[in-house]
């Protein structure tokens, strides 16, 4: 299952990339599982550990750990927002 992942702000800088295309194992079918899958890369990817204050969106809608992730989705991870 192919998805696109975007990273923003401090998280983008920490991970050293703004976007990536990823082929996911079938078992990785929620935002929470995707975070754990990415965090397992080690080093700076621990920024995505479950306990870290990271927000997620799927197809540009705010998402929780249980939100489904599927073929062709755009998933984004970012810190709490600070606009205004």
């Amino acid at each position: 299952m192919a998805i696109r992942i975007l990273y923003f702000a401090g998280l983008r800088e920490r991970l050293g990339q703004a976007a990536e295309e990823l082929i996911l194992p079938v078992a990785i079918d929620t935002v929470g599982k995707l975070r754990a899958h990415l965090a397992a890369r080690g080093a700076n990817w621990d920024a995505l550990d479950a306990g870290k204050n990271v927000r997620a969106a799927v197809n540009q809608r705010m998402a929780g750990a249980e939100t489904a992730v599927g073929e062709g989705d755009e998933v984004a991870f970012f810190p709490p927002v600070t606009g205004g």
């Binding site: 923003f8 401090g10 969106a57 540009q60 809608r61 984004a76 970012f78 927002v81 600070t82 205004g84």
Partner: protein
């Protein structure tokens, strides 16, 4: 109702005039302008860069304005938010709400700002004499948005 995310500065008077021109039902216009402070969290700020999520940010602002419109009987609303590198004193954000009376215009304007601060995907990075730093989300902003849950 409209939402604009842009690098360019905005003219508050011109934006308000565009909303009120020819609409004689409007009796109240409330507006809010956010600007870049020259100091934050104990350090001087020499510049600020605003990052956003093209697509989702506009959708999020549209959704916040739609929520305000469901909640109050307002006639028109506008949100303009800038991105890119800004200097202290520059304008960041404009919210304008027009209604028949001031009550709903003030309330909807404040509601839109409170939710923009906690939900719209924007991130600020400050340049200070000690280096650059990403601004942390503030607990006070979450509390400000939370109070609208118990009208």
């Amino acid at each position: 109702m409209s939402v604009k995310v842009q690098a360019e500065d905005f003219d508050v008077g011109r934006e308000i005039a565009a909303i009120t021109r020819g609409n004689l039902a409007i009796g109240a216009v409330a507006s809010f302008v956010g600007t870049v402070r020259g100091a934050n969290d104990g350090a001087g700020v020499t510049a600020m860069t605003l990052e956003y999520y093209p697509g989702m940010t506009e959708t999020s602002l549209d959704d916040i304005v739609a929520q305000a419109r469901r909640r109050w009987d307002i006639i028109d609303a506008l949100v303009v938010h800038r991105y890119g590198r800004l200097q202290p004193g520059e304008q960041i954000v404009l919210v304008v709400v027009a209604g028949e009376h001031r009550g709903e215009a003030f309330a909807a304007c404040e509601f839109i700002m409170d939710f923009l601060k906690t939900e719209a995907p924007f991130w600020k990075k400050e340049e200070t004499p000690h280096g650059s730093r990403w601004v942390d989300a503030r607990e006070a902003d979450d509390q400000a948005a939370g109070r609208w849950k118990n009208p």
